[in-house]
Amino acid sequence: MIDTEALVEQFGLTACIQCGKCTGGCPVSPKSALNPRALVYQMLRGEGFELVSREELWDCTTCSTCGLRCPKGVKAVDLIIGLRGQWIESGKIPTTLRAPLTATLNQGNPLVLPREDRSLWADGLNVKNVAEGADVAMFVCCENAYDPRVQPMPRALVNLLRAAQVDFGTLGLEEQCCGSEIRRLGESGLYEYLRDDNLDKFRQAGIQKMVTTSPHCMNVFKNEYAGAGFTVEHYTQMLARLIAEGKIKFSKRMETVVTYQDPCFLGKQNGIYDEPRAVLKSIPGVKFVDMDRSRERSVCCEGGGGRMWLEGTNNKVRLANDRVAQALETGAKVLATACPFCFLTLSDAVIATGHENDLRVMDILQIANEAL
């Protein structure tokens, strides 16, 4: 049984007025038994809450819409992460999570691939190590480092930063998982280990400024690594600035209609809506159109919060499939995004819905790099 009183106190749940704004905005609540408002109420009622048969807790994508819209400052998402934590503590870890969690501890990545292979994405690029001295540290998300489908993104960023004559380096084999999704899976012990270890490494390498390929890494460094001592940007912020300063110039045209999926960790959670759009609009030939549901009203791709390793209780309905349909409605030929998770979920959705020939999913990094 869960100590509901402790959770009520820890997450300030007495503030809740049961208005339902959280569940009303939760992207997965229509397809799952997940109901953040009801969870808060069950904690407040306190009459014995059991985790058994509450599989829907693993459906949460940690998009954070619930907490961001709550009129009373309650973060239902944090409660969900807390409940997952108790689940993990009880030792009944969902089977598909075991390997990613163990690999993150041992190999520094949840993709269950060897630590020594971390820099394979950069083969032949001769990227220097930030410890040799560099203005900017480029932090590559585990997905971008290991998954061949998204390895072109960091390569593109290398190209773009070189074009803009930015002095940068990576952590090489010292780089490891940022811990963002680990924390959101409730594995707080592992997260804290990663955070402390990373902070040590960042300090040793003398990192002052960082740019990340994923909004998830950017978010955890910026908002959750207490006392980080360095500034961090997502690459869309840096590119938008370099373009505005005239340091990146595009020579190729891209005659096509582009729409954009706001990654929750970039848009909703960090208010970065304009920079990605500015980059896209600066590319010659691009006709940019927004989907009806965009910016603050954007819809999660279902890739966050560990959902890359968890199918969820209902995989018949996939938000990424809806998103593809909405992108097609705009007349776009390219669905751009700025997050490796979004890229992967949306790419799968394009295939699942049979639209490989109508819509191309691209990371903004790829688009910008192609236009150089």
């Binding site: 007025i17 339902g20 009303g24 229509p30 408002r37 009129p71």
Partner: protein, 448 residues
């Protein structure tokens, strides 16, 4: 010692305070920054819960103000400086140029008909719905019923020329238009000041999930007032783009009770405003499907709960749960919420969504506070001297608050508050008036 009072703000609070003080025999300067007195109440259609027409109960009071021998009305004017002078105050008032001589203007409107920008300027009185000219009266019952040139829009004011000839000037038979007018500073002396500067409606664009400013059929409750008003842009018909909505959703608590906007307080009026609007929607479009999304209905005033009962009996559906998002599907809006009573997320289609916007302090509130040395409460409205025992007094002797400048109020509470501020003002003026005493009566013993 002057036996005058200065009332700042000519909405229903300032109007009521001015009338009561003047009726007690004291002189009142009533300063209003807009071209007409009337304030927010003049924009309303019906008032809850009795459904009296707002203009019908307000207009006579506006006329009373204009006719009162002891009220000096300074419209289109702003108080820009206040200095204490012993136990009284000296205030400097800036009279903005109307570019219309109000002693000559007959209010006929020929100028507005002739104006080159006729029908081109968003009508603020109609909450942005409908268009007017660059020379205008805000509404037909304006007091004074005199035209004013909008200096931010008029081509002649902004650019120095307007076509070959000044068509408004030519059209005015009374020769009232005078672009040589300059602003004028005047000083008034008063022994008491009543601050009655009111509120602003919450800016719904600050809740981006609700799509205000994105979808033309997402409107505010103030815009609904104008649509519903016989003097509004649709002559009282509930129409958007010329079409009657069949499904209407009302959204409660927009910008109130909400940490994300910083407005922690309940705005007190929106529940009943929405109930009234739901009633009007049903009355005007019988077959309409009307849904109100709420979290708690606060129907605390006289006749309010009964009105809430009536509206539900008329077929308005109340669904418990805040609206979390509005988006489009086909030619309909979709209202996403959770029906918290059954614990299920819902999508409700709508042709029109009306946002029940809260009341917030006007930006000028802090200016007024600065001029008068007043303090804000934590909600940004002005602080009374004691929350229970001194509801109209302030920390500054001789300065009183009336109406929504102190916090959100409905019309009856505003009028009561204004009357209390007037009473406090009269007490002060009376205490300072030493040159005559009223005749007192004594107890006469009747039994022997």
């Amino acid at each position: 010692m002057p036996s005058s009072a200065l009332v700042i703000g000519g909405g229903i609070a300032g109007i009521q305070a001015a009338l009561d003080i003047a009726d007690a025999g004291f002189h009142v300067f009533l300063v209003e920054k807009e071209p007409s007195i009337g304030g927010r109440m003049s924009q309303l259609d019906k008032t809850f819960p009795t459904l009296d027409c707002s203009a019908c109960i307000l207009t006579p009071k506006m006329v009373d103000v204009s006719r009162h021998p002891d009220i000096e009305l300074l419209t289109y004017s702003e108080v820009i400086d206040v200095k204490r002078n012993g136990s009284s105050f000296r205030a400097i008032v800036r009279k903005k140029p109307r570019y219309v001589d109000i002693t000559k203007c007959t209010g006929c409107g020929s100028c507005a008909e002739a104006c080159r920008l006729r029908g081109r300027i968003a009508d603020t009185f109609n909450a942005g719905m409908g268009k007017r000219a660059a020379i205008y009266v805000p509404f037909p019952q304006a007091v004074p019923l005199k035209y004013t040139v909008d200096p931010t829009k008029c081509v002649f004011v902004t650019r120095g020329v307007c076509g070959k000839t000044q068509v408004c000037k030519e059209a005015c038979k009374a020769e009232a238009i005078d672009f040589s007018q300059k602003e004028e500073l005047v000083e008034v002396e008063a022994a008491a000041i009543v601050a009655a500067t009111g509120f602003d409606p919450f800016n719904a664009a600050l809740k981006p999930e609700l799509g205000y400013g994105v979808y033309p059929n997402v409107i505010t409750s103030l815009q609904f007032e104008r649509l519903s008003s016989a003097s509004g842009p649709t002559a009282g018909k509930i129409l958007l783009n010329g079409k009657e909505p069949e499904e209407i959703a009302f959204v409660q608590c927009v910008g109130s009770r909400d940490e994300t906007t910083g407005n922690l307080y309940c705005s007190r009026v929106c529940c009943m405003v929405t109930a009234k609007h739901a009633h009007l929607a049903k009355e005007k479009i019988h077959h309409a499907k009307v849904t109100v999304f709420y979290a708690d209905v606060r129907a605390f005033g006289k006749g309010f709960e009964e009105f809430y009962d009536r509206v539900r009996a008329e077929g308005v559906r109340y669904q418990r749960g805040y609206v979390s998002e509005i988006y489009q599907r086909g030619d309909k809006l979709v209202v996403r919420a959770e029906d918290t009573l059954i614990g299920k997320p819902t999508e409700t289609s709508a042709d029109m969504v009306v946002l029940g916007i809260g009341l917030v302090p006007r930006p000028e509130t802090n200016q007024v506070a600065g001029l008068l040395g007043l303090e804000n409460s934590s909600d940004g409205f002005l602080a009374e001297a004691h929350p229970k025992m001194r509801p109209v007094d302030t920390a500054v002797d001789g300065v009183y608050l009336a109406g929504c400048v102190q916090g959100p109020k409905d019309i009856p509470d505003t009028v009561a508050h204004a009357k209390a501020a007037a009473a406090a003002t009269i007490v002060r003026l009376r205490q300072q008036t030493t040159d005559h005493r009223l005749q007192r009566t004594d107890v006469r013993v009747l039994t022997t």
